[in-house]
């Protein structure tokens, strides 16, 4: 799975995140306070204006601190009832309709059906719920104001803060109800949709070429299953009648011979698909590279791939990719260290077409430099391959890799032969010999001349365990829930001072910017082709391509100046708005990776921070309006 943004541990994340949050909040507060003060002074004169400003701040604090849960609940309930009156159930009907016909659009022959199904259901749910809460949140307050129904509320003893919070909670509750209902339907759709079975295609069964029959005359056989759900599996059954259908389309099936002579399909019983609905719990390490002379580098070789996610190491050289893992303890990995990896392979020549490129792993103690070499493996591209490092390692080779400084001050690893008593040891203990307080280095090397392995940080990890799929699915929906709450927050905040349609456009703008934040940042920092919005507009009108320079002159100067101003605001906005894609965990669920507690906590806190700020902003905006005074 591609993980472009590394998930930090909570302690690594919290303090820098808090500092950024505090900084942005401080700047915002100063700006808002300054604007409020200046506008008060301009409108009411210096003395009255200042008095008015400080009174508003004081009232605000009181309104925010003395909110009544009972009144908040009543207003929340009112929002829910109001939403149902608007026939929002239709959205659910649309969803059911989409799911009912999803089978038409989803290709069951896809190599990774779970990824396809999960991506579809989570994307469909996400957009439907986001659009639903967007429309609910932006039109509710302005409609109440227009219909004067809000007057009936404000005349009651309620605070403006309670009105805003009630709306946020109410719409979030509606979104939650929909998400839960849709999630349930999606869960059933995915789990039921992927269930299938096969039969043994008895015509393909043959005794393994090098197998010898046992005393009873039984021998292991191999063959193929029948084709169902647009795929078939290779199968193998041992002499005792136990076997399995080999992995295809990310799953396998258990198989057992239930009787007969094994020549009829009914002699075998094949179980449901396994290995598909899982959530691996990965332990990621920190990645660094060494070049062909074993000098430490930040990146490997660029083989000219347009996508620079992976960096490459050269085969048959000293180049290596090294991951440093923490927490490698007998408690976390009692039996063995399962190293899972997904490698990119780049060949500079055809080599041996029939065989993959060879590689090997080294396990190194970062403190002592003691390194043991593991057996050679044959790489598999775009497939998650597992290499087991046992607790007691019988090494292929033992030596030391020691860190030395070069004349240029660079770090270089130098190989030193192990002393005879170490070199001749038959086995090494993973934790006693190769771990430094739970820290272990795994080195990946490519062994074939002029061939390359491509890796990224998340391409090699230690699999701690397989967590169940269902909680992971729920956590994936929790990511959608957070996006939904953010949209509600922005929608309600905008609706406190803008008319419905304008608030809708503003929230939609936030949604689009939030979902394409990386593009917005590229645009704001001038990294996209074709310049800023004004320059692009001119290019479209004049049909000028994006790579040629604009002709110098007045028009270009004006366009670039206007773009500079727009891009300044865009840059400022991009720092303030949340990156909504960071809240999507559908890839984790689809690729079968567990969503970590850190992920949930970090994003949960981010959501909470945004919602609190949006709520406070919404309150002050509403308070500034005549109706709430």
């Amino acid at each position: 799975m591609v993980v472009e943004t590394q998930i930090l541990s909570f302690s690594e994340w919290f303090w820098p995140a808090l500092a950024i949050f505090g900084g942005v909040l401080g700047v915002l507060l100063i700006l808002v306070a300054f604007t409020g003060l200046v506008s008060g002074i301009v409108r009411l004169g210096p003395a009255r204006g200042m008095r008015h400003f400080f009174r508003a701040i004081g009232t605000g604090f009181v309104d925010l601190l003395l909110m009544s849960p009972r009144r908040i609940f009543a207003l929340t309930w009112l929002s829910i009832k109001d939403a149902f009156r608007r026939r929002i159930v239709i959205v659910f009907a649309v969803f059911i309709l989409m799911i009912s016909f999803a089978g038409w659009f989803l290709d069951p022959g896809n190599d990774h059906p779970l990824r396809l199904y999960i991506t579809f259901v989570m994307t469909a749910t996400n957009f439907l719920v986001l659009l639903l809460v967007l429309f609910l949140s932006v039109f509710s307050l302005p409609t109440d104001l227009k219909n004067k129904t809000l007057h009936t509320v404000v005349t009651k003893p309620v605070r403006a803060s309670e009105i805003v919070l009630g709306r946020i909670l109410g719409f979030s509750a509606i979104g939650t109800i929909f998400l839960v209902a849709m999630g349930l339907v999606c869960y059933l759709f995915v789990t039921r949709g992927l269930i299938h079975t096969h039969e043994v295609d008895v015509a393909t069964l043959e005794v393994l070429a090098d197998a010898e029959p046992d005393a009873a005359g039984a021998a292991p056989v191999k063959g193929k299953s029948t084709q169902n759900s647009r795929h078939r599996h290779d199968l193998i059954v041992d002499a005792a009648g136990k076997g399995r259908l080999e992995v295809n389309k990310d799953h396998w099936h258990p198989l057992i011979r239930v009787g007969g002579d094994g020549k009829k399909a009914s002699d075998y019983k094949i179980g449901s698909p396994e290995g598909m609905l899982i959530a691996r719990v990965p332990v990621y390490g920190k990645l660094r590279f060494y070049d062909r002379e074993r000098n430490e580098k930040e990146k490997g070789v660029n083989v000219g791939d347009e996508w620079t996610y992976r960096s490459y190491i050269e085969g048959d050289s000293l180049a290596a990719a090294v991951w440093t893992f923490d927490g490698v303890t007998p408690q976390n990995f009692p039996k063995q260290l399962p190293v899972e990896m997904t490698l990119g392979i780049f060949r500079t020549h055809k080599g041996d077409i029939e065989t993959g490129v060879a590689g090997n792993l080294l396990v190194r103690n970062p403190k002592t430099g003691l390194t043991v070499e593991r057996p050679v493996f044959i790489s598999k591209e775009f497939v998650t391959d597992t290499q087991i490092v046992p607790r007691k390692i019988t090494p292929v080779n033992v030596f030391y890799l020691r860190n030395k400084k070069t004349e240029n001050g660079e770090s270089k690893m130098v190989r030193e032969e192990a002393e005879p008593q170490t070199a001749n040891r038959p086995e090494f203990d993973l934790f006693d010999d190769l771990s430094d307080n739970g820290t272990v280095e795994i080195w990946l090397q490519c062994l074939d001349t002029a061939q390359f392995f491509g890796v990224a940080q998340a391409d090699l990890y230690l699999k701690a365990k397989d967590a169940p799929f269902t909680p992971n699915f729920i956590k994936g929906y929790f990511g959608l829930w957070m996006q939904m709450v953010l949209v509600v927050g922005f929608g309600v905040m905008f609706s406190t001072f803008l008319s419905g349609p304008v608030a809708g456009i503003a929230t939609l703008g936030f949604l689009v910017m939030g979902l394409s934040r990386s593009f917005v940042i590229d645009l704001a920092t001038g990294q996209t082709w074709g310049g800023g919005p004004v320059e692009s507009f001119i290019r479209i009108l004049t049909q000028q391509n994006v790579v040629t320079e604009m002709e110098e002159g007045f028009r270009t100067t004006v366009a670039k100046t206007a773009d500079g101003i727009l891009m300044f605001f865009l840059r400022a906005m991009s720092h303030v708005l949340p990156d909504l894609r960071q809240f999507s965990a559908s890839d984790y669920v689809a690729y079968g990776f567990n969503i970590s507690g850190n992920w949930i906590t970090e994003r949960g806190l981010t959501t909470l921070s945004f919602v609190v700020v949006l709520f406070v902003m919404g309150y002050f905006f509403l308070k500034s309006r005549e109706v709430a005074k």
Binding site: V2, F105, D107, N110, E306, Y309, I353, E354, E381, F382
Partner: protein, 696 residues
């Protein structure tokens, strides 16, 4: 008043709505089929009728897919935008190697634009050619080629009358599977792929034959359904099925099939190629041609020319004579110089002379007088038309290499050729298994068989379509054989036998080499300069000639081991003449001589060198036994042998390694003479070697 106005307005609105509805019905109401007996159905509105007429009805184009139709409707006319966005997504997925999403996205694009052929063509190519190569395991790569094929098949279901898709199916099946680097593996997997082929028997699953079937499906669409989008020129379109049959023949031979199966395959290929020669093919000039008809047309042309000559009463010879006499002096002078000695300017002038003395049929026709004139003009017109047709056919025959494949298909089915190929295949296999004796014997037999093939079918070497130059495919076959044979000879430390049966063909390959004219000119000029005593100029020209020899040997490496003694001797002659210029100029022969290795190989394998070495070994033994007189005798023989080598290969004087061997013999000779108290002979025949190397 107000109410009346409102009522009137409503009536007007209703009338307009009704009018628009009627217009809409007239234009757009759909056609209905026959419902019951006597009911002929309705042809539908104007648009429906136009769709039917232009074959644009969805039902006429291909299968009606409810999913696709539902999506198209749901797009509200925005499907172009949606397809564009999905296309961008597909590019992004390909960039980030997200293959499952790429497949899903392509699926979506085709659902919303099922009749946009470019999508099917381009994306099938993308899957089969671009995505497949991203995978390291050839099984995965094969699977993506099949995905490309499945994609095209789906496209054909939506577009049943589009030969361009069927042709693409043929192309990917035949060319991608049959020509890729992994063709051996792909062909094996393709035959074993039950899921793709379904009930098709394994014997019919060869990718070239399946590809041919798809090409024929495309032909059928053009011939029977008046489909016209073929995606290539008609010439290539019609050549594809028989070419597939030829490639099938080649492929099974490569895999070791040389019996009846191969014979039948080539026999069928020959028949199909002949049929292709009879196929009427439209050209861009609006002519209809048949590639196999050229000989007949040429004969007709010759007869017409004869008739024209008769009518003009031998005017042709008269005109040629006149024109030759009228040639400018410089042209006449250039023609007088022998062809090999012509300068580039003279070559140009000689070529111009040919053009200037050419007599066209029109000129001959103009010479006809009286009643013959009208008849001559009539014939002239026929000749012109015929010439145009022949020119076009000749061009098109060249494009598809018609004569070569015609001959090839006929030759390949002969026992002689099948045997020759079988022998090469078996020898290659033995070589791969490091069974050198079997490989050597196999290559010896194979070269004999190939020599017989070439003697019986000399046209295999050069055909009309290759511009009467050596045919590349035949040259490749011969080169492969010679390279392999050379390798086995190298292992056995032997040169080619002097009676090597393919020597004439190696000689022919050399004579047809494009460097040969320049080499010959350089040699002729060098000789002239040498005769005129201009040794420095001669030396430069010989250096140039040696450079050309080097290039020719690089292209025909078997020459290193004397596969053609005639050519080899010519090389040695050049070297000898080159060495003479050094002698004349009094300059020592250079050590860094570019054909040193060639000479070294010849010397090492010469009988003289073997004699010299044997004599030295014997003399050494005898000297150790203090039998100096006998040792001296042996050394006399050995030194004489070295003397002969130096005469035959004068460049050896620059070769340190050989000269060291000579020096060892001389040193021993001196020791033996001293032991007998004899003086060293003077003058000494090998003095140049002593002068050059003894002090070093």
């Amino acid at each position: 008043m107000h109410q009346q106005q409102r009522f009137t307005r409503k009536i007007v609105y209703l009338v307009i709505i009704f009018g628009l509805l009627m217009t809409l019905y007239y234009l757009g109401h759909p056609s209905t089929g026959q419902v019951g007996v006597g009911d002929e159905g309705s042809p539908g509105g104007v648009l429906a009728q136009m769709r039917t007429k232009e074959n644009l009805d969805q039902a006429q184009i291909g299968q009606v897919d409810p999913t696709s139709e539902a999506l198209k409707l749901a797009m509200f006319g925005f499907r172009g935008v949606a397809a564009h966005l999905l296309g961008l997504k597909a590019i992004e997925y390909k960039k980030t190697k997200d293959w499952s999403n790429l497949s899903a996205t392509l699926n979506q694009i085709t659902k919303i634009q099922p009749n946009f052929l470019n999508v099917w063509e381009h994306q099938a190519w993308n899957l089969a050619y671009n995505c497949s190569v991203e995978f390291d395991d050839y099984h995965d790569r094969y699977r993506w080629v099949i995905k490309g094929l499945e994609f095209l098949k789906k496209g054909m279901q939506y577009n049943e009358n589009e030969p361009v898709l069927a042709r693409n199916m043929g192309w990917v099946t035949a060319q991608k599977i049959g020509r890729a680097d992994e063709k051996k593996q792909y062909r094996r997997l393709f035959i074993a792929d039950d899921d793709y082929h379904g009930s098709r028997p394994k014997s019919e699953r060869d990718n070239w034959l399946v590809g041919k079937e798809w090409y024929l499906t495309a032909h059928d669409m053009v011939n029977t359904r008046r489909a016209f989008r073929i995606g290539t020129s008609p010439l290539l379109f019609y050549s594809e099925p028989p070419m597939c049959q030829m490639q099938y023949g080649e492929a099974i031979q490569e895999e070791g099939s040389f019996g009846e199966k191969a014979k039948k395959a080539w026999n069928k290929a020959s028949q199909e190629w002949e049929e292709f020669g009879k196929q009427d093919i439209p050209t861009s000039q609006g002519l209809w041609i048949q590639l196999g008809k050229i000989e007949q047309l040429r004969k007709e042309g010759e007869n017409l020319l004869k008739e024209l000559d008769k009518l003009s009463d031998g005017a042709r010879e008269k005109l040629i004579r006149q024109k030759t006499d009228q040639l400018p002096k410089k042209h006449q002078e250039a023609l007088a110089v022998p062809e090999l000695l012509r300068t580039p300017k003279q070559i140009e002038l000689a070529y111009e002379s040919k053009q200037l003395t050419f007599v066209s049929p029109a000129e001959i026709a103009r010479q006809a007088t009286g009643p013959n004139r009208a008849k001559a003009n009539e014939i002239l017109e026929k000749i012109k038309n015929l010439d145009g047709l022949i020119r076009q056919i000749k061009t098109d025959r060249g494009i598809v290499n018609y004569p070569y494949w015609d001959l090839r298909a006929k030759v390949e089915q002969t026992d002689l050729m099948l045997t020759a190929r079988k022998l090469v295949h078996e020898a290659d296999e033995a070589f791969q298994k490091a069974n050198l004796t079997a490989a050597y014997q196999g290559y010896v037999a194979a070269t004999k068989a190939w020599a017989q093939v070439l003697a019986r079918f000399p046209e295999m070497f050069s055909t009309e379509s290759s511009g009467n130059r050596i045919n590349k495919a035949t040259q490749d076959d011969i080169n492969h054989l010679l390279i392999q044979y050379s390798k086995t000879l190298e292992q056995r430390d032997e040169l080619y036998p002097t009676n090597f049966p393919m020597a004439p063909y190696v000689g022919y390959l050399v004579s047809e080499n494009d460097k040969m004219p320049r080499l010959s000119r350089a040699l002729a000029k060098a000789k002239k300069e040498f005769q005129n005593g201009k040794f420095l100029a001669a030396q430069e020209l010989y250096e140039k000639a040696i450079h050309f020899w080097l290039l020719i040997i690089a292209e025909n490496p078997s020459l290193m081991q004397m596969s053609d003694p005639n050519t080899g001797n010519r090389v040695l002659d050049t070297i000898r003449q080159y060495a003479e210029t050094f002698e004349k100029l009094g300059i020592p022969f250079p050590e860094r001589f570019r054909l040193r290795t060639f000479v070294w190989i010849q010397v090492e394998h010469s009988q003289a060198a073997k004699n010299a070495k044997t004599a030295f070994a014997a003399a050494k033994r005898l000297a150790a036994e203090k039998k100096y007189a006998e040792a001296e005798k042996q050394l006399d023989n050995g030194l004489l042998a070295w003397e002969n080598i130096l005469k035959r290969y004068p460049s050896v004087i620059g070769d340190k390694s050989i000269c060291r061997e000579i020096l060892r013999s001389i040193d021993l000779y001196r020791t033996v003479l001293e032991a007998q108290e004899k003086s060293f002979p003077e003058p000494f025949a090998l003095q140049p070697v002593l002068d050059r190397y003894s002090k070093k």
